[in-house]
């Protein structure tokens, strides 16, 4: 009974639900209290202790449906030992046997041989005459469990597991037997054995595919995430790019939680002796009320200017996503985009969900060629009166102005006023200062120019930035 539950929890973890051991123990108590017979009750009960956010609830419902529904329809020999389940299965396998008998009557010879076969002790899928339904599957399931099918993780492992399961089913002996029969001229029986074999193989493939579906490519997803983080954003296929947003949200959440904690730790100050004494004069100087020195932190404002011209748009898309996700820790972030003039899009990001906002930005302002002169000048005009020693300006772009005005004077203005001007360049350092790149000149008017072609570099940079701003 608990085994089913454990399998189900594995299944949930594969789908990204963080189920802890303590929660597993809870779930066991829940199933003990509720029993397995009422699926709706079970679902509601397990959901309350396994799915802890609203999003998780949906995933949970999906997994529950997938897992227990599949069990009812297919899992003939499942080790679940659900009373209801086995009861359902028994009559069905009986039916299969009866059916086999009837078929046997139809063509005399095969029937006789079929009976002879079922008397044989071999594991060679004997009783499932004509490769019929549930019994073959039951045997395959049993063999699959023996072969450790639940450990399958990658599509590429299918071949290995197919071989293992067939081995457990005694496929080798059977092939030898078929060979021998053919040599002895008993083609009919050999054909019949081969039919069984084909049916078994089909069932094996079925089982393997189902298990892959249940495991949901968890490991390959983990590997893919890792690769995605490290690979250069500009070189990424659009197929992979679509998988980025959830990954970005995950990274941003990680950063956010880490920095929030640090912030909270530093908040409580030392005892404010003067105030404590003053306020406790009424109690004869006995310090019943204590007061702490608190350091007031002025929040730093962050301005992000993002190039969304054709060449770097995919990359700035990622960064804007990141910024939006980070707004939890950095509530005073203002976003600007430019091809020509700089345009503020902060409200747009607040109003719409991330993807929609990006689409709108692209559609309204995107895909021209970049004019850094105009962009930096208008940017300065918009934020100049807000800039002070606590502001931080981040500019994202490749610094390729197509030979036009560089706007370096405006950037220098910003540089003198702001606490920090950072320039993130998606190009790799080797191609800086080649062609129409003006990054060297911009370097003179920025505190730091960094290369951040991949998500991991970006995460590291922002991590550093956040600890600096505290």
């Amino acid at each position: 009974m608990d085994n089913t539950l454990l399998q189900f929890i594995r299944h949930l973890r594969h789908h990204g639900l963080p189920v802890s051991t303590a929660e597993t123990l809870d779930a066991m108590q829940v199933t003990a209290a509720l029993g397995y017979s009422d699926p709706i009750l079970l679902r509601d009960g397990l959901a309350s202790c396994l799915a802890k956010t609203v999003d998780d609830n949906d995933t949970f419902a999906l997994c529950f449906e997938q897992f227990f529904h599949l069990d009812h329809s297919q899992d003939a020999s499942s080790s679940d030992s659900q009373a209801a389940n086995t009861e359902q299965n028994l009559p069905s396998s009986e039916q299969a046997n009866e059916g086999e008998g009837e078929v046997g009557d139809g063509d005399g010879q095969a029937s006789g041989e079929g009976q002879g076969d079922s008397a044989m002790p071999g594991k060679g899928g004997g009783g499932g005459g004509g490769g019929q339904g549930s019994q073959t599957r039951a045997e395959v399931m049993r063999a699959a469990a023996e072969a450790g099918i639940e450990n399958i993780q990658f599509r590429t492992q299918r071949g290995v597991f197919r071989r293992r399961i067939l081995d457990v089913l005694g496929d080798k002996q059977r092939q030898i037997e078929i060979q021998a029969l053919r040599e002895a001229g008993n083609d009919e029986r050999a054909n019949w054995l081969e039919q069984i074999r084909d049916a078994q193989i089909a069932a094996v493939i079925d089982v393997i595919n189902r298990q892959l579906l249940l495991n949901n490519d968890a490991s390959s997803r983990a590997i893919r995430d890792d690769i995605l983080q490290n690979s250069s954003l500009s070189a990424m296929e659009s197929y992979h790019r679509e998988r980025l947003p959830p990954l970005i949200r995950k990274l941003a959440k990680k950063l956010a939680s880490r920095h929030r904690q640090r912030h909270r730790h530093a908040r409580k100050g030392k005892l404010d002796l003067g105030k404590t004494l003053r306020r406790n004069i009424a109690y004869g100087g006995i310090p019943f009320h204590r007061f702490w020195k608190t350091t007031r932190k002025d929040k730093s404002e962050i301005f992000v200017l993002c190039d969304i011209s054709g060449s770097v748009s995919a990359w700035s898309r990622v960064l804007l996503l990141f910024m939006q996700a980070l707004s939890d820790v950095l509530p005073s972030t203002r976003c600007f985009v430019f091809c020509g003039r700089s345009i503020e899009v902060t409200d747009l990001f607040r109003q719409y969900p991330a993807d929609e906002a990006l689409a709108i930005v692209q559609q309204r302002h995107g895909l021209g060629s970049s004019d850094y002169g105009l962009a930096l000048n208008t940017f300065r005009d918009q934020i100049a009166d807000k800039l002070n020693r606590r502001s931080c300006v981040i500019i994202l772009g490749d610094g390729r102005g197509n030979g036009g005005d560089t706007g370096i004077a405006a950037l220098r203005d910003i540089y003198h006023r702001a606490r920090l001007v950072l320039w993130f360049n998606p190009e790799s350092q080797f191609s800086w200062n080649t062609g129409d790149s003006e990054i060297r000149r911009y370097q003179s008017a920025a505190h730091y120019v960094a290369e951040c072609g991949s998500l991991r570099k970006l995460e590291r940079l922002l991590d550093g930035l956040l600890s600096l701003l505290r």
């Binding site: 509720l34 017979s37 009960g45 309350s48 802890k52 609203v54 929030r260 904690q261 019943f288």
Partner: protein, 311 residues
């Protein structure tokens, strides 16, 4: 197994007696929480009856309810315990002479301090403790229902403070030691999801999400809360509210607003929705000017729709 089903059905019936119409999921979670002695964390949009569930449960169990409303800056001296400073002070003043007697004849500072050490920390004993909701719930003789409302509004530190209570039903006071619950209270936390709660907190709780109810359930709720509303009108208004929820509104009308609206319609002695009536009372249902502006042009078709739903 059918025992569990039976118990849960009784639970639903008992809650209904208190005027709370619970869905099966709600009752199941409540049942498990009682069996496992776990806190429940309830999430959901405002006004779907999160707080009400705690009230109804307390009434159903016939136990006192302690409510702790969370807000930014809430700390342990307001949530857990405080010292009765004025009482301590008074005692110090009154006992001054006794102290003098004790110290009489002591030679030098050392021996005086030595004598003082022989007395326990009388001023920091349970007699001077001022229990706040959390401690009150733990000390309650007959068990209690503890409602920690809108936990997402409190700070992170406060969440950590709660962990010990939620896991073991114990609190550790530095001056006294660890106090355990006399009877484990049923703890209900509610959250409006304005921020993510920590995983540690979530791990210790059962999670229950209460969404907006289906039309049938909402119908029952309105019936139980405002039984005077004629059935035809009730169906019509519930249908209307449901179609309003499909708009992109700043604030969706919740159950509490449906009930308020039903009450105000009752007050106006109306037995069916008309355009004029809805226009005049829409502000009961929708709380933002923009929302009202968005729905108003569609009123006619919405009313038509709710009427046809009736037939």
């Amino acid at each position: 197994m059918s025992d569990a089903r039976k118990n849960i059905d009784t639970l639903i019936a008992q809650l209904a007696e208190q005027g709370y119409i619970a869905s099966s999921a709600i009752a199941t979670t409540l049942y498990i929480a009682q069996q496992l002695e776990r806190p429940i964390l309830i999430e959901g949009p405002p006004g779907v009856g999160k707080t009400e569930l705690a009230n109804a449960t307390a009434a159903m169990l016939n136990k006192p309810m302690f409510r702790l409303q969370c807000y930014e800056g809430l700390d342990e001296s307001k949530a857990l315990y405080d010292w009765k400073y004025s009482k301590q002070l008074l005692y110090v003043q009154v006992l001054k002479e006794q102290l003098q007697e004790i110290l009489d004849g002591a030679e030098g500072l050392n021996s005086a301090v030595e004598r003082l050490h022989n007395f326990d920390d009388i001023f920091y004993s349970e007699r001077f403790l001022e229990p706040r909701p959390l401690l009150k719930a733990l000390q309650s003789d007959s068990g209690a229902v503890l409602l920690i409302d809108e936990i997402d509004k409190a700070d992170y530190e406060f969440e950590s403070l709660l962990l010990e209570i939620l896991a073991d039903f114990k609190v550790t006071l530095p001056e006294i030691g660890t106090l355990s619950a006399v009877h484990k209270p049923l703890v209900i936390l509610t959250s409006n999801n304005t921020r993510d709660l920590s995983d540690a907190l979530k791990r210790r709780c059962l999670h229950l999400y209460i969404p907006f109810p289906e039309a049938k359930l909402e119908n029952q709720i309105v019936q139980s809360r405002v039984p005077e509303v004629p059935e035809a009108l009730r169906r019509q208004l519930v249908d209307f509210v449901h179609s309003v929820r499909s708009f992109d509104l700043k604030k969706q009308p919740a159950i509490s607003e449906t009930i308020d609206w039903a009450r105000s319609l009752l007050l106006l002695h109306s037995d069916s929705l008309s355009k004029q009536l809805v226009e005049d009372t829409l502000n009961v249902l929708l709380k933002y000017e923009e929302d009202i502006a968005m729905v108003t042009p569609e009123l006619h078709s919405l009313i038509k729709k709710s009427e046809s739903g009736l037939l």
